[in-house]
């Protein structure tokens, strides 16, 4: 890549500092279904770049059918417009496939505080080999918990119940 190409963002009148600032702003967009988390916390926001003067936010879905994607797309454009950025678009990529490993430490803490048990902190097991580790109750900390349903209120969650404090809770499935 030569210097001329590297200069392109500058000639498009958006400096790298400005891009960093826009990324921070876009990253603050909350997830519509788990509003305590931002799309940066979730790892849904992959990048903010500039293409021929147009700001391009790249996002990736947690699950293929995640219905929140349309809302996230609209919210990202809205956040950019509030910064005076009119020339913007959102692109969706599927590859590399999103993994719960992309949820930040901060995101995990926020999930726990919100009453959702965060996913296991390890690379997801190979497809088809679903390991079951004890899920820690986000309310009392007990490991004596039981899965009630593999599928929960949204595609990314499973339903659990704590055998110690008897409270039901959501678990963000490891993916």
């Amino acid at each position: 890549m030569n210097g001329q190409q590297l200069d392109r963002p500058v000639s498009s009148a958006i400096s790298s500092d400005e891009l960093r600032r826009l990324r921070a702003i876009v990253g603050e967009v909350p997830d519509p279904e788990i509003p305590v988390l931002t799309i940066e916390d979730l790892g849904v926001l992959r990048d903010v770049t500039v293409d021929d003067g147009v700001v391009v936010a790249t996002i990736t879905p947690t699950y293929s059918g995640c219905p929140a994607m349309d809302a996230i797309r609209a919210d990202v454009l809205c956040a950019l417009r509030e910064q005076g950025v009119e020339q913007a678009r959102v692109q969706t990529v599927l590859s590399p496939a999103w993994s719960t490993d992309w949820i930040s430490e901060d995101g995990r803490r926020k999930l726990r505080e919100f009453g959702i048990a965060p996913p296991a902190r390890c690379a997801a097991p190979p497809a088809g080999q679903l390991i079951s580790l004890s899920v820690c109750c986000p309310l009392c900390g007990s490991l004596h918990t039981r899965e009630v349903s593999h599928f929960g209120s949204t595609a990314c969650k499973a339903l659990y119940v704590c055998e110690t404090c008897h409270e039901p809770f959501d678990h963000f499935k490891t993916l």
Binding site: S64, G65, C66
Partner: protein, 249 residues
């Protein structure tokens, strides 16, 4: 339509039609957790269908988007497998259909994730983790019903007998898969059979179920020749869009 477009379309049709069938269960499942489970599985499949149909439309280049392909094609233009359009029957029939299809789809997507076509590889790589959950879910229900009460065992075996003849079509190669597998883009479905047999046989044995024996293997879905119930499914799927063109939320 180019080969890759036709291939994306058939895989998208499989996901779309099964999603439509499964969505029917929502609010009618045997227990509330199952309403959530079936709806979630249907949603995953719908997401896969959107990506695949969208890609097929893009490659076709005639301006048809995912909605045009889902809502404005007639029955004979759908190229899904007959298995996915098979009626839901009771919960055991649906469970059997899920076991047979998700085991196949998982094996297919794992291979397709290595496709030379980046978009197909991306869609499959994304979906493989979801389908692993679908297969796991179908496996658990097959075990629970098969190795359950006399009544649940009887109905699970009957469900299996109902859908079993349609399994063979999943593994039938045709000119399209021949060309695409040679090009490293698609998968020769016949090569998925051995691993499928091994997994399904293992589950059936553990569930105390007998592997059905049949010489009847209906096919035709990939050529647009469908079963009687398919017209009703398509009518329900397309009714709103055709009655109110351009309707959106």
């Amino acid at each position: 339509m180019t080969d890759v477009a036709a291939y994306a379309l058939r895989l998208g049709d499989d996901a779309l039609v099964l999603s439509q069938r499964l969505a029917w269960w929502c609010s009618k499942s045997p227990e509330i957790e199952e309403d959530l489970a079936v709806a979630n599985i249907a949603l995953d499949l719908l997401g896969q269908a959107r990506a695949l149909l969208g890609y097929a439309g893009e490659l076709e280049g005639l301006g048809r988007d995912e909605d045009a392909l889902a809502y404005l094609r007639s029955e004979g233009e759908f190229t899904n497998l007959l298995l996915v359009e098979h009626d839901n029957g009771d919960f055991a029939v649906t469970t059997a259909r899920q076991l047979l299809f998700s085991t196949y789809q998982l094996a297919l997507y794992r291979r397709l994730a290595e496709s030379r076509d980046e978009t197909l590889a991306g869609v499959a790589g994304k979906a493989v983790k979801e389908v692993a959950y679908h297969r796991d879910h179908a496996t658990k229900w097959t075990l629970r019903l098969g190795d359950g009460t006399d009544e649940s065992h009887r109905r699970m075996q009957a469900g299996l007998e109902r859908v079993w003849p349609y399994a063979a079509e999943m593994f039938g190669p045709d000119a399209l898969t021949d060309r695409l597998s040679a090009a490293g883009v698609g998968v020769d479905p016949a090569t998925l059979r051995a691993a499928w047999d091994e997994y399904v046989d293992g589950v059936l044995a553990e569930a105390t179920l007998a592997r059905p024996q049949t010489d009847w293997h209906p096919s035709g879905g990939r050529r647009g020749v469908h079963t009687e119930g398919f017209g009703y499914l398509i009518a329900e799927l397309q009714h709103l869009h055709r009655s109110f063109p351009g309707a959106s939320w």
